[in-house]
């Protein structure tokens, strides 16, 4: 069976997998962004706390994804919980690091100006520091998403959702008629999704980065 023929007979299943893959990555990214920015906001003011946050998240990233999911299965069982946990953990590093760098990079004289005109701590954070740090944070989110797209494929190992299922089925039945097609479809699907997300981020950047600080 040719690749195109394979696609046309299996397209329903492939679309479901692609949708689940995208949705898993998207949801994990939302969670990772909220947690990552929160960690950054809590730690960027103190030297050691910020460094600790970056080092910890970096350490998580060095754990092989297959191993991490494998370790999570006995604790969280199969399916969605270990997938989400692993993806969120992996997604943290670029976001935390960029958010800390971004927040620390905000011109100190601007922060003082904000204090000087009577903005409270929260107002300073929400109206001055985070908006100014937003471009690097968004870049972190983008990098994170690209990474999670690939890692999410491993989730199939824990019976998670997504295009990884195609790849794993293919690898498990190497030599059979559709094995190569399955691996190919899964991989290409992930690439297409990654590109689509990236385009989405460009659009989000256009919409959310104020014209005054757009590079």
């Amino acid at each position: 069976m040719g690749f195109w023929q394979f696609l046309s007979t299996r397209h329903q299943q492939l679309l479901v997998d692609a949708y689940q893959h995208a949705s898993a990555v998207f949801q994990c990214m939302v969670i990772a962004t909220v947690i990552g920015v929160l960690i950054a906001v809590l730690t960027y003011r103190t030297e050691w706390a910020g460094n600790l946050a970056v080092t910890t998240t970096a350490a998580i990233l060095t754990v092989p994804s297959l191993a991490l999911i494998g370790l999570l299965i006995p604790i969280l069982g199969l399916g969605v919980p270990p997938t989400v946990t692993a993806l969120v953990l992996y997604g943290l590093l670029p976001i935390v690091r960029n958010a800390i760098v971004g927040l620390r990079g905000v011109d100190a004289s601007l922060v003082e100006a904000a204090r000087g005109i009577g903005m409270s701590r929260t107002a300073r954070l929400l109206r001055v520091e985070l908006p100014l740090a937003w471009p690097p944070i968004l870049t972190g989110i983008r990098v994170s998403t690209q990474m999670l797209m690939g890692i999410a494929a491993i989730a199939a190992y824990a019976s998670g959702p997504g295009l990884g299922n195609e790849i794993f089925t293919g690898i498990a039945s190497l030599g059979s008629a559709n094995a190569l097609n399955e691996v190919l479809a899964g991989t290409l699907g992930i690439i297409v999704l990654a590109l689509a997300f990236d385009a989405g981020y460009v659009l989000i950047g256009r919409l959310t980065i104020p014209r005054g600080i757009r590079g």
């Binding site: 004289s109 601007l110 003082e112 100006a113 904000a114 204090r115 000087g116 005109i117 009577g118 903005m119 409270s120 107002a123 109206r127 001055v128 908006p131 100014l132 104020p210 014209r211 005054g212 600080i213």
Partner: protein
Amino acid sequence: MAEAAKAEAGVTAEAGAGPQDERGRSEGRGPGTPGGPASGATIVLENLTKRYPGNPRPAVESVSMEIKAGETVILVGPSGCGKSTTLKMINRLIEPSSGRIRIGDEDVTAIDPVKLRRKVGYAIQSSGLFPHMTVAENIALVPKMVGWGRTRVRDRVEEMLDLVGLDPREFHGRYPRQLSGGQQQRVGVARALAADPPVLLMDEPFGAVDPITRDHLQDELIRLQRDLHKTIVFVTHDFDEAIKLGDRIAVLRERSHIAQFDTPEAILTNPADEFVSGFVGAGAALKRLNLTRVRDVEIADFAAVTVDEPLQSIVELLRAGQHNELLLLDHRRRPYKWLRRGDLLRARGSLARSGTLVTHTVTRDATLRDALEAVLTDSGGRVAVTGRRGEFIGVVDMETLMNSVHEMLEADRLTALEHRHELDQVRTGREQDASPVAGDPGGDGEPPS
């Protein structure tokens, strides 16, 4: 100035009710316009000290000073003398280690600093505008924070842009990076003044702009202050700037010790000690020129015609013999060209090709030093004076300048003499006070100082 008028009404009509009245009461009267609306407040610093942990010597040691309502006081001193620290203690960006700050009738040493800062305008070097907000959003920040209504904020933004000489329609939606350094600084001042604070703190606000723009901004600030009568505390390391802007100047030495706190004239003619005279620097007579403005000297009339006038009548006017020279004005009555008698002939009657372009003009707020500079560079030895919109008012020439400088220096000499005389009297008076004097209730039992 609807704002100030409102505050005024608040005092008379509904005394004792509402925050509007609160602010009204703290307002003083500007020295320039007796009875007119004014919004300055007195600032009193008592033994203000700042110590940093790990440093045995305080950064600022026991500064006491009283700044009158509506007054512009300049803190000037070498870098590292603590002038900026002193300023930042007034709005408690730096918390004083000890001492008191009073603004108006209120002791602000212990109130919520965020609330304090909303009542104190703050403008800093390189404007401190938020780059992700438009000009209008930047200006609207403080009014919004203190809870003004939407339309009031919008009107205020327009008013403030107009006040600092920027066209609201053009600049409203721009981002700071789309402005020149001078324009950013204007917006910075507009933002600081937006919520109509009685006090304005300025920390080397014009330090980062080029000299020409700085000059304009200084003139602008003088003009603003003439209308607004805020209490301004201004930090600079540039003594010329201090002379130009200050009603009084505090010359600070290390740890913010006040070496002299007096009017610019007094400091120039009568520096308190070596340190001050060293800081004043050479050329006190030239610096004196910075203290007088073009509006204070005689502005002479000068024959002027606009370009709209028929060529024939211009030729007639030149030929009539009364005037050797004419000033040609453009359509909006701004100085355009100096036209000598022979110029038109040589250019074969073409206005476009004859005469010399006017390169320098001064406003009435310009200092005599600016005027002298312009006169010296002009080939004819005079400079055209223009009004707010650049329209021609008259000319100032070398002779006028020379005469006024002579008069000025003579007057200074006299005041300095008088001053010394007074000091002597006070001194002898104190010596007399040392022996008990009858009928002086305040002096009873007080040890002589």
